[in-house]
Symmetry: C2
Subunit: 323 residues, 2 copies
């Protein structure tokens, strides 16, 4: 798709021309280091495509697109401190390469910069409000995720709420911002937001599945990393629900082993239980339900179908419907 | 002054009525814990007094006042992690009472909330831009301060820049926000901003002096804490400048002792050198220069003197000119 490539190039150029600041270098080097690493630029792309869909001005939409990417990278820097993650995108995380103080502070500066960028367009106040809202929700989601580590029982409802807050709302806000800049109708902005929520839920469930059921070479993460880390993902919670008393106890036992325990055997045993219970298929079903609902929301947007084509194609590419 | 008490009460009531959020409690309890502790509410007061001075609507100014206090408390929570400070205002700091992850995250949420509050009034976009600007400057100031810990030589110019960024700009922005809400003229907003910068510089130098030369009972901090911590304050840098080669070498030696070294003797020796060099008097001179310049800026504001009386009295009370 020509337009998708074009928008990706436009955003890359806009980002490359952005001056994030210079002095003190300890504050600004980690910012450049993080945001200039290549990524999918998923959130900026959703914002630009939403604006394009309603015939808005791309030059205006580039600002919230930049705000979203800056904000997203801020969350990565702070989350990596909390998760003690040594590596991201194949490179040392900021807190590892510098230290936790610098990671806290450069993250804080990025959050402030994100608001500065969001405030640039004519509708800046509205965009900044949307950013403030989603920022708070994401903090709530991250806190829930941290709580799950030590929480005895996590319900499927808790988990869905957590991934909505931690992941889905930012995709939804990206679409909302693009549509806002383009002066879309309130009802259509809401439909696009709902499209983003459902798409985000579907993506996260897909991520949960791919952790165990994917070609490591392609996906780039270690096989069963979530199991090794005792992460209470949807797969695990669903398995508990579907399991016999004996399997349930065994799963809970395996997920309370120390994280530095030899992981290969543990992952194999969990995988065997999951397979026996057909957990993957059950989770895929839920994922496809979100996916279907997402595209229903998009279909309900009051525009000719051809105007929705680019966003639809992009989302289909991401969700693996199109190769 | 009746009006000062009244504004303090109004702000206290506004703060008490603010819903910062509820779930997850691990995120929101530290926010309430921090911001509901009594403080001087210096930044809200400057904002409200600036608005009052130009005859603005107090109900509008309460929002940026709340944004400023929320923002200020966010900086305290994150700074306390970096400074490993166990106690603030006589109570355990957030990262001590909970943990560093929770301190990072509740701080992040407060920064986002501060923007949400700043965006409430009619001039919300302008206020949020001012908040974004000052937030970035304060991150720069904090990073400079962290750098000073390990930096071989810190110039007086570096130090003044650091305290301007870390302390003075927020007082200046508080005044700027109050004047902005009240639709003051650009030139007057700038004069009030400059008043705040000079006042802030003066306050910080006074703090540096009080660390060593104050009645511990009144000031509430340990005597010579900055010296014990090897903090390169204005007193120290000025002493280096005024010292003989022998004193200079001894001071540098004393300020490179491990921080857990017995501090009493060290503080006494440093104090003896400072006294011999009349460092206190030299710093007081610089402080009074800033103080004088501050009130010149206030005098230049294009309003009848009686309209400036409340802010002037408040600033005089703070700077110790009035008891």
């Amino acid at each position: 798709m020509e337009i998708i490539k074009q928008l990706q190039q436009d955003f890359a150029a806009f980002l490359a021309n952005t001056d994030f600041g210079g002095q003190p270098t300890e504050l600004y080097e980690p910012i450049a280091y993080t945001i200039l690493q290549s990524g999918k630029r998923l959130r900026p792309m959703l914002c630009l495509l939403a604006c394009d869909m309603f015939g808005g001005d791309e030059n205006e939409a580039l600002w919230p697109a930049l705000a979203l990417e800056t904000f997203h990278n801020f969350t990565l820097i702070h989350d990596d401190i909390m998760d003690k993650a040594p590596v991201r995108r194949g490179k040392p995380t900021v807190y590892q390469k510098w230290n936790a103080d610098i990671a806290i502070l450069s993250g804080d500066a990025m959050l402030a910069k994100a608001f500065q960028f969001a405030l640039k367009p004519k509708k800046g106040a509205e965009l900044a409000r949307q950013l403030g809202q989603v920022a708070i929700e994401i903090c709530e989601g991250q806190q829930m995720d941290l709580n799950f580590e030590t929480q005895q029982s996590v319900t499927i409802e808790d988990y869905l709420k957590m991934i909505r807050l931690k992941t889905a709302v930012l995709l939804a806000t990206a679409l909302q911002m693009g549509a806002t800049v383009a002066n879309a109708k309130e009802a259509d902005i809401q439909r696009l937001y709902d499209f983003g929520i459902n798409l985000g839920m579907s993506f996260q469930l897909q991520d949960d599945i791919l952790d165990l059921y994917s070609d490591v070479e392609v996906f780039g993460k270690r096989h069963g990393g979530d199991i090794a880390d005792n992460k209470k993902t949807y797969l695990y919670l669903r398995a508990l629900e579907m399991a016999s008393e004996k399997d349930r106890q065994r799963l809970e036992q395996l997920f309370s082993l120390r994280i530095d325990h030899d992981e290969t055997e543990k992952i194999e045993e969990v995988e065997e239980i999951y397979n026996r219970l057909h957990v993957k298929e059950a989770v895929e079903q839920v994922m496809l339900d979100y996916d279907r609902r997402a595209f229903e929301c998009l279909a309900a947007v009051d525009l000719p179908e051809e105007r929705k084509a680019h966003l639809k194609t992009y989302a289909e590419l991401l969700s693996g419907r199109k190769k």
